[in-house]
Amino acid sequence: MVYIREAHPDSLLNVETGDGNTALGIVAQTYSAVDRLANLQQCVHLLQLTMPALIDSDDNAVNRAYAAWPDRLYAVNSDGTIGFKSGPGPMGFKSADLADWLKANVK
């Protein structure tokens, strides 16, 4: 996972307070790697993610390079070329399409 700028930083959501409870709050937009790391760690904890996770740099360079915001899927072949690229989220974020590509291309 590559953690990029928040998609809905203005949203009123239930977020963890760190003591096992949840409370209404806003997950703020992130403008630095430090802020982004904090949000990622909360995301990983809450969603129980086990996949490797990286944070985009302060200048959102990787987000821009991959036109990733708000979310997007890519598969990069072992030769470094792009094998699969989804449409931009949310409508284009189709994990089933990626699954089909993986079944057809990765043995």
Partner: protein
């Protein structure tokens, strides 16, 4: 982003509140919402055409505002269907903002009726909801009406309004100027707490207490600072004044924030078959780094771009 499917349904009902169930006997209603997306003339034309494709929509007016395009629709429609159809042409639809105020002034019925009439007359004030039995009396105004215009209208009716809730903004300011900005904001009556956090390129500002967005922006401007709201006046922002324990009724709602500069790129730079842009990024442990090209010749890599929201 992982919550978006559920919250799209919540946001759809937030448009209408008690009118979430359409009644065929009702006269055509006019409702406002804010569309976020491209705002060139051709885009607004596409937006209007997309909305009018719904045969039960009688009229639509569009007006560019600071947070997007104010859309006023007369007729009947299903908000979620409209949201989905507008997303397919690059627009996100948001419920109109709601401002909450404490009311000071006469508490008799005639006086409060005068206040409601005065507030309803303010341009873009779509709905005025007065809690006359509450102590203190409060009023919520839904729509894009200017906060300063609401305050002025209340004053002519013999009332004072005090903004409620909290406010988040991003400021372009040098670190040395932060104390001066803090001082300017703290001078506003009703400000209970202010948090200024330095980030790349400036600071984020979080203000809690009885504060109105426009008063805050005005106070900052008077001290020489431009502040840009991180959150436009959103639904029931008074809820942010204190956290609720889990299990309490949660009026959560997802707002579709506008993309940052260059985020809705006119053309993607990557192509299937082309070389994936290389990068080296920090891992979630905050220490080690990973480079994409390290996997070249070894294994394919799946990249899932996203965020918690």
């Amino acid at each position: 982003m992982f919550r978006s499917a559920l919250c799209a349904v919540l946001a759809a009902c937030a448009f209408l509140g008690p009118r979430c169930t359409a009644n065929a006997q009702d006269l055509p209603q006019t409702r406002s919402m804010v569309a976020i997306g491209p705002s060139a003339d051709g885009d607004l034309k596409r937006l209007r055409e997309a909305i009018l494709r719904n045969p039960d929509i009688l009229d639509v007016s569009l007006r560019p505002i600071s947070s997007g395009v104010l859309v006023r629709i007369t007729g009947e429609f299903q908000p979620q269907e409209l949201m989905l159809s507008l997303r397919s042409i690059g627009f996100d639809l948001m419920p109109p903002p709601t401002r909450s105020y404490m009311v000071s002034g006469p508490k008799d019925e005639a006086g409060l009726r005068r206040l409601t009439t005065a507030l309803e007359a303010v341009p873009d004030a779509d709905q005025v909801m007065l809690s006359a039995q509450a102590d203190p009396v409060t009023v919520r105004v839904r729509g894009e009406a200017s906060g300063l215009a609401l305050l002025a209208a209340a004053k002519t009716a013999g009332f004072e309004l005090t903004g409620m809730g909290s406010y988040a903004a991003r400021v372009t300011v040098q670190p040395a100027a932060l104390p001066k900005l803090r001082e300017a904001v703290l001078r506003l009556p009703g400000v209970r707490q202010i948090t200024l956090r330095e980030v790349v390129g400036g600071a984020t500002l979080d203000v809690r207490g009885m504060v109105d967005d426009d008063q805050l922006i005005g106070a900052a401007k008077g001290a020489g600072y431009e502040i840009r709201p991180l959150a436009a006046a959103g639904p029931n922002r008074a809820a942010l004044a204190g956290a609720q324990p889990s299990g309490a009724a949660a009026p959560s709602g997802e707002r579709n924030s506008p993309p940052g500069v260059g985020e809705r790129a006119p053309e993607d730079l990557t192509k299937v078959g082309g070389v994936a842009p290389d990068f080296e990024l920090l891992m979630k442990d905050g220490k080690s780094r990973v480079r994409l090209s390290d996997f070249r010749g070894k294994q394919p890599v799946i990249l899932i771009f996203g965020s918690y929201t």
